[in-house]
């Protein structure tokens, strides 16, 4: 026990006296959380809140054109413009303005678009009532979308969905009115049948609900998604200073001495694991504190921790042991400082990419999604999402923790194997 305490003291002193290393351990993750959350929050707002500039040319100036203009003016999806530099927008000026990046999308509603709907509906109604079609003119029209190539596909889809919704509404109203008129012509006036009015109220409505145990208004947002993701990423980057510490010992000759003294070298490894787990947990608390206290100061939502603090601690501990175990394995496998740094950083980048840190695992192809299940970063992330977004409890976290514990045991087992193999020469 005295030897273990001495080894822990030594590791702590080495860490505390390496000021640049300490700065990397704590300041870099803080910067990462701030930068990534602000960037991702901007992307979130882009799609869900406001500010996307759109320009509209309403050449129709009838029901459809007016409905679209009114609808887009009153949605929080975008900011609608009908003028460019003080002039009424035209097809040519829209094309130029979108090309120059002034607007993300330009919408051109052609002249006679409403007439086309009316003609189409009239033909359909006449055909269904067995009446002669007296319609004259076009039965179709094309709404033109001019899209900036930088526009996200999802945003374009949102706009076209809205347009389809407006067109359907206008078409339904015209259909109702045409039917009313045609039927009124067939019914003798002396029967005293009154025609109804179209109220346009939707029959089917949507109710959105997040599948979460959490009560209150916890909504998925950039903070809820990014703080746990980048916290785990930073915790796993503990691999680099840990590998560096092991490589220094190899290069400075202290490992040589460890192998000649009666105390097992694994005592040094255990001390390292202990100290670096503490560092990981400190990183975790620091970054969660940023989500709770610092991000709201710059206008971002406050991180909601869910219902289970014990679950949070368990997953944080799981990530810490998985990260340190992996660091010890990389430090054992590598033979030079440079090799260790490259192997450590690249493997963490790969594990984080397949683990869903950069892009959500659910949008990955099947093969990558299967691979994702094998990344310890994914286990941790899934655990935190369960706690922060779905309101899961400590019981739900045990499988995640066990996976990370097994990963740690496998890493240490491999470390022992590699050590023995290397010492055999």
């Amino acid at each position: 026990m005295r030897q273990l305490l001495a080894a822990i003291k030594k590791e702590t002193l080495l860490l505390v006296r390496d000021r640049i290393g300490l700065a990397i351990l704590f300041i870099m993750p803080m910067v990462l959380i701030f930068v990534m959350t602000i960037i991702q929050d901007a992307a979130f707002r882009t799609l869900n809140e406001q500010g996307i500039p759109i320009v509209l040319v309403n050449a129709d100036q009838d029901s459809l054109g007016n409905r679209i203009e009114f609808g887009l003016s009153n949605t929080d999806l975008c900011v609608l413009h009908t003028e460019i530099d003080g002039e009424i927008a035209t097809l040519e000026t829209v094309r130029k303005a979108v090309q120059e990046g002034q607007f993300l999308i330009g919408i051109i509603i052609p002249e006679g678009a409403t007439d086309a709907i009316e003609n189409n509906v009239s033909s359909l109604v006449s055909a269904s009532l067995g009446m002669e079609d007296e319609t004259v003119g076009a039965q179709s029209a094309e709404i033109q979308l001019i899209i900036d190539p930088v526009a996200a596909k999802s945003f374009v889809v949102s706009i076209t969905s809205r347009l389809r919704e407006f067109i359907s509404g206008v078409k339904a109203r015209i259909m109702f009115e045409t039917f009313n008129t045609q039927i009124a012509e067939l019914i003798p006036e002396d029967l005293g049948v009154e025609t109804g009015t179209y109220n346009g109220e939707p029959i089917i409505t949507y109710a959105e609900e997040y599948a979460s145990e959490l009560t209150g208004d916890v909504q998925p947002n950039a903070v809820q998604h990014n703080v746990p993701a980048w916290t785990i990423f930073s915790m796993f980057f503990i691999v680099l200073p840990l590998v560096s510490s092991m490589m220094k010992e190899k290069e400075e000759g202290t490992v040589f001495r460890f192998h000649t003294i009666p105390t097992s070298y694994f005592l040094q490894i255990i001390a390292k694991i202990f100290v670096y787990i503490i560092v990981c947990m400190m990183q975790f608390f620091l970054m969660i504190s940023i989500g709770l206290f610092a991000l709201p100061l710059i206008g971002l939502p406050e991180l909601e921790l869910g219902n289970s603090y014990s679950g949070i601690l368990l997953i944080a501990l799981g990530c810490s042991i998985a990260a340190t175990g992996y660091g010890v394995l990389v430090g054992t496998l590598a033979t030079t400082q440079q090799q260790g740094s490259i192997l450590g950083s690249l493997s963490i980048l790969v594990l984080s990419a397949i683990g869903g840190i950069w892009v959500p695992a659910y949008i990955m192809p099947d093969t990558m999604r299967t691979l994702s299940e094998m990344s310890p970063l994914h286990w941790g992330l899934d655990g935190f999402y369960g706690l922060f977004l779905r309101g899961e409890g400590i019981g739900d976290m045990i499988p995640h923790f066990l996976k990370m514990l097994i990963f740690f045991v496998v890493c240490i087992g491999l470390t022992i194997g590699v050590q023995r193999f290397k010492r055999r020469g």
Binding site: R2, A6, A7, R17, T254
Partner: protein, 250 residues
């Protein structure tokens, strides 16, 4: 009556994976208690491999090593308590102070806390390091680092001490201090196995030397006897050059 044998090496060979020739090839010798045994040879001759094998750092490919009557392979833990090692590299933590390094290594050697403090103070005093003991090793000169490196290997009072080039890169004063205290340790009963490229130092310090080249022992004996046996040689360096030839080594 001759001194008891403390190290017995029987037909040891060591081949590294991928190497064309064995680093140590069927070497046998023994070392008596209280001897100062010098293992001399050009670069790549196999000196450090033999020291590493004797310290139990890795096992030989074949052969047997017995230290203080214990088989090195099967009783490694017991043997490790009886040996001290002063490696060629400065195996110290640069960001810890000299004293912190010594406290750490002394504890790893399981020296009792009270004894450890006394021994550290004693050796720091002897090697004139007391004033600098609480400064970081990174601020030390080469000679100061070597002195702390030596103390770290002897804090547990080993009966056998392995020294791999203990005076390389140090000034004359530090070297003299180190050699003086090594002689004291030997006089107190410690067996010393020593490698060096300073043949003049080895000639004065060692009671027995073995010259090794290409993994084989070429000759072994008392330095004075070896000089006398080799016609035309006035010192150990000339014996060494005569036996290992002048050809440069990698």
């Amino acid at each position: 009556m001759s001194s008891p044998t403390v190290i017995q090496i029987e037909n040891i060979s060591k081949s590294y994976a991928g190497a064309e020739f064995p680093a140590v090839n069927n070497v046998s010798f023994s070392i008596q208690k209280n001897e100062v045994f010098g293992l001399l040879g050009p670069n790549g001759a196999g000196k450090t491999t033999i020291i590493s094998l004797l310290c139990g750092l890795f096992p030989p490919s074949s052969g047997k090593i017995t230290i203080n009557g214990s088989d090195l392979q099967s009783e490694l833990s017991k043997v490790k308590n009886e040996i001290g090692v002063v490696p060629q590299d400065i195996a110290l933590y640069p960001t810890l102070t000299g004293r912190e390094n010594l406290e750490f290594y002394g504890t790893m050697y399981k020296v009792a806390k009270k004894d450890l403090k006394e021994r550290i103070d004693l050796w720091l005093e002897k090697l004139e390091m007391s004033k600098s003991a609480d400064k970081r090793v990174s601020s030390y000169s080469g000679g100061m680092k070597r002195r702390i490196n030596l103390i770290a290997g002897i804090l547990h009072n080993p009966s056998i001490l392995f020294l791999d080039e203990p005076t390389v890169g140090v000034d004359v004063q530090s070297r003299a201090a180190i050699m003086l205290h090594l002689k004291e340790l030997n006089a107190s009963g410690m067996t010393i196995i020593y490698t060096s490229h300073h043949l003049e130092e080895a000639e004065k310090f060692c009671t027995d030397v073995a010259i090794i080249d290409n993994g084989h022992i070429i000759t072994r004996g008392n330095p004075i006897e070896l000089i006398n046996e080799n016609e035309g040689c006035k010192n150990l360096e000339e014996v060494f050059l005569k036996l290992t030839k002048i050809k440069l080594r990698d």
